[in-house]
C-alpha cells in the first residue's frame, strides 16, 4: 500500500450523531420544535440514520435511479450485438473467435488525422483528466473495487473510420487485414464500383454491410435504427472504389464529413464501482492512447456532440439500453469512453473529474495485468485492405 492507500484504509467508520446531541444542537440553533413536524427524529432513530459519505449527496440523491440488476451486462450485450459482424471479421483474421465477441473493446484503431474533430495531440492536455504523452492513461485517485479489467492489444493492420452523413447520422467503417472472407449467408449485389454483402437474415439494431475485397475484411455499420439501403448509404458506396491492392478510395459525397479515423491501438478498460452514499454504482472506463473515437465506438453508434467537463465530447444518442449514459472524448493523446446505466451524466463527470494521470506501467501494476501481445498475422494474402489517400491523406 502507498501512503494514500493507507490513509484510505484507516478511514474510521462513524456512528450517526446520538439523537440527544442532534436534538440539542437543533434546539440551540432554531429553538424547541421549530419546523420539526416533517422530520421525525423518532423515525430516523428507528431506522438508523444513514451517514452519507458522498460529497455531493444531495445532488446524487435527487437523481439516483434504482439499481438495475444486470444492466451492465445488457449494455455489453447490446454493444456486442451491434459489433457482431466486425467481431466475426476480426476473429476471422486473427483466428481467435472468443476474444472479440465477448470483448467488443478488443478491436480497432486510429491515428488522429487532420480530419479529426478531436484536438490535435500537440495541444496541451485538458484539465479534465490531465493525461499527457508521458502519462497517457487516467486512473481513479482513490481505490475503487473493479468488476473487470482488460487490456486489448492493438490489432495490426486494422483501422476504423467514423463518418457523419448529411442527415446527422453516424456511419462506422472498419478494415481488417487477413484472408478473404466468404459470402455465405450474405445477399451480394453490386453498388457502383464495389460489391456489397448484407446478412440475409437481417435483424439487429443496425444494418451492417460487408464490402467484397480480395483480402481481409471491410465492414460498414450504419446508424442504429437506420433502414437497409437508405440513400445516404447507397451514395457512400457509390463514391467508393477498390483497387487490386484492396485500397479503398472514398470521395466523400456532399454533406459527409469524417468524424474521426485512426489505426488500431491497445485499449485499456475497467469497470469500477463508484461510491454513492452507502452503495456503489458501476461505471465502465475505456481509454486508448493514440487511439480514435472510431475505435471506441466499435460497430458504430449514433453520436451527438456535447460538453463534458468543459470540453468537447460526444454522447451516445441511441444507446442499446435506454438507461445507459455513454460519453466519448479526447484529452491530449488519449481517447476515452465512460459509460454507466446506473449513474447520470453529471455523476460521470464527477467520476472522471477525480481521475488522475497514469502511465501504462502504473495501470498494469495497479491491476496486476500485463499488456498482452497481439497475435501475429496469419494471413498469406498479399493485398490487404486499407483506406486510401482520398479519404485519409
Amino acid at each position: 500500500m502507498n501512503v494514500f492507500d493507507t490513509i484510505h484504509a484507516v478511514r474510521p467508520e462513524v456512528d450517526p450523531m446520538p439523537l440527544t446531541d442532534r436534538r440539542m444542537i437543533r434546539e440551540t440553533l432554531f429553538g424547541v420544535g421549530h419546523d420539526d413536524t416533517t422530520r421525525s427524529f423518532g423515525a430516523r432513530s428507528e431506522s438508523g440514520a444513514v451517514v452519507s459519505t458522498a460529497p455531493h449527496g444531495t445532488r446524487i440523491a435527487s437523481r439516483r435511479r434504482p439499481r438495475r440488476s444486470g444492466s451492465i451486462l445488457k449494455m455489453v450485450a447490446g454493444i456486442a450485438a451491434v459489433a457482431i459482424v466486425g467481431a466475426i471479421a476480426w476473429s476471422f483474421v486473427s483466428g481467435r473467435d472468443d476474444d472479440v465477441i465477448s470483448e467488443p473493446s478488443d478491436l480497432t484503431i486510429a491515428e488522429t488525422t487532420a480530419a479529426s474533430t478531436a484536438p490535435p495531440t500537440t495541444d496541451p492536455p485538458f484539465v479534465r483528466t490531465g493525461v499527457s504523452r508521458a502519462s497517457p492513461l487516467a486512473l481513479p485517485s482513490s481505490l475503487l473495487a473493479v468488476d473487470d479489467v482488460s487490456i486489448s492489444p492493438a490489432v495490426t493492420g486494422s483501422s476504423t473510420l467514423l463518418l457523419t452523413a448529411p442527415d446527422g447520422t453516424t456511419m462506422w467503417m472498419a478494415e481488417f487485414d487477413g484472408d478473404p472472407v466468404g459470402t455465405d449467408g450474405l445477399e451480394v449485389r453490386q453498388v457502383g464500383a464495389v460489391g456489397i454483402g448484407v446478412p440475409a437474415a437481417g435483424g439487429g439494431a443496425s444494418v451492417t454491410y460487408q464490402l467484397l475485397t480480395p483480402c481481409g475484411v471491410v465492414v460498414l455499420g450504419d446508424a442504429p435504427g437506420a433502414p437497409l439501403d437508405r440513400p445516404e448509404v447507397i451514395a457512400l458506396f457509390e463514391s467508393m472504389s477498390l483497387d487490386g491492392n484492396a485500397t479503398i478510395d472514398v470521395s466523400l459525397p456532399a454533406g459527409f464529413s469524417v468524424l474521426d479515423i485512426g489505426e488500431a491501438q491497445a485499449s485499456f478498460a475497467a469497470q469500477f464501482q463508484v461510491p454513492v452514499f452507502t452503495e456503489t454504482r458501476a461505471a465502465r472506463l475505456v481509454q486508448i492512447p493514440d487511439g480514435s473515437i472510431s475505435q471506441l465506438v466499435f460497430g458504430g453508434r449514433q453520436l451527438a456532440p456535447t460538453t463534458f467537463l468543459g470540453g468537447p465530447a460526444f454522447v451516445d444518442a441511441a444507446p442499446t439500453d435506454p438507461a445507459l449514459v455513454s460519453v466519448y472524448w479526447q484529452d491530449g493523446p488519449t481517447v476515452f469512453n465512460v459509460s454507466s446505466a446506473e449513474l447520470t451524466f453529471e455523476d460521470l463527470q464527477s467520476f472522471v473529474d477525480a481521475l488522475e494521470p497514469a502511465t501504462t506501467d502504473d495501470w498494469m501494476q495497479r491491476f496486476d495485468m500485463p499488456v498482452p501481445v497481439a497475435p501475429a498475422p496469419t494471413s498469406t494474402c498479399a493485398p490487404q485492405p486499407s483506406f486510401g489517400p482520398t479519404l485519409n491523406p
Partner: protein, 199 residues
Amino acid sequence: MPLTGAAAARLYDDHVDAVHALVARRVGAAAAPAITAEAFELALRTWDRFDTERGTERLFLYGIATRALRGHLDVERDHLRSLRITSDALSVDMLDPLVSGQQAAPARVVEHEANEDLRGGSAAVTGDDGADPRAPEARVMRAVSELDPEDRDIVLLSLWESCPQSSIAEALELPVSSVRSALGRIRRELKIAVAKDAS
C-alpha cells in the same frame, strides 16, 4: 444575511449526518457534536457567502466544517494519531468482492507506488489504546497529523469523503488545478515524512 427559520432547519436536517460524519472521522465521536454545532452556527451566520449557482449546500458545509476543525487542531492531531487499520477496513476496502463473486478474492489493485516501508506485515487490529506506534499506518497518520491544515483537508476530503477534485476545490474555495497539484505534492511529502519516521 444569515439563514434562519424553516430554510435553516431544513439545511440542518438534510446535512447534519454528513457533516457530523466528516467531523467525527477527524476528531472522534466525543468531540464531534460540539464541533458540528459550531460548524452549523458558522454556516448559518455566513450563509450569504453560499452561491447556489456555484456549488452545493453539502460542499459549502464541508468547507465550513473544515474551517471549524481548524480551531481544534490538537484534538484532531491526537485522534488521527490514534487511528489504526481494522480488519473490516481490509476486508471491505482492500479487496474486490466482485471478482469471481468470491468474498475472499485477493485485492485486484496493486499500487504502483508501493512503499516497502509500508508493506511491513499485515495490518494489525488494534484499539486506540496500546496501538503499536511502529505500525505502518501509525507512521502515515502521524505524518498526516503534521500536515499543513489545508493540505490535510484536501487529502482527507479526497480519501475519506470520496470528494472529486472539483468538489474539494469548491468546498475549500481553491482552483481545481491547485487541488490536483496539491494531491501529488502531498503524496510525495507524506512518503518522505514516513520514510524519515521509519529510519
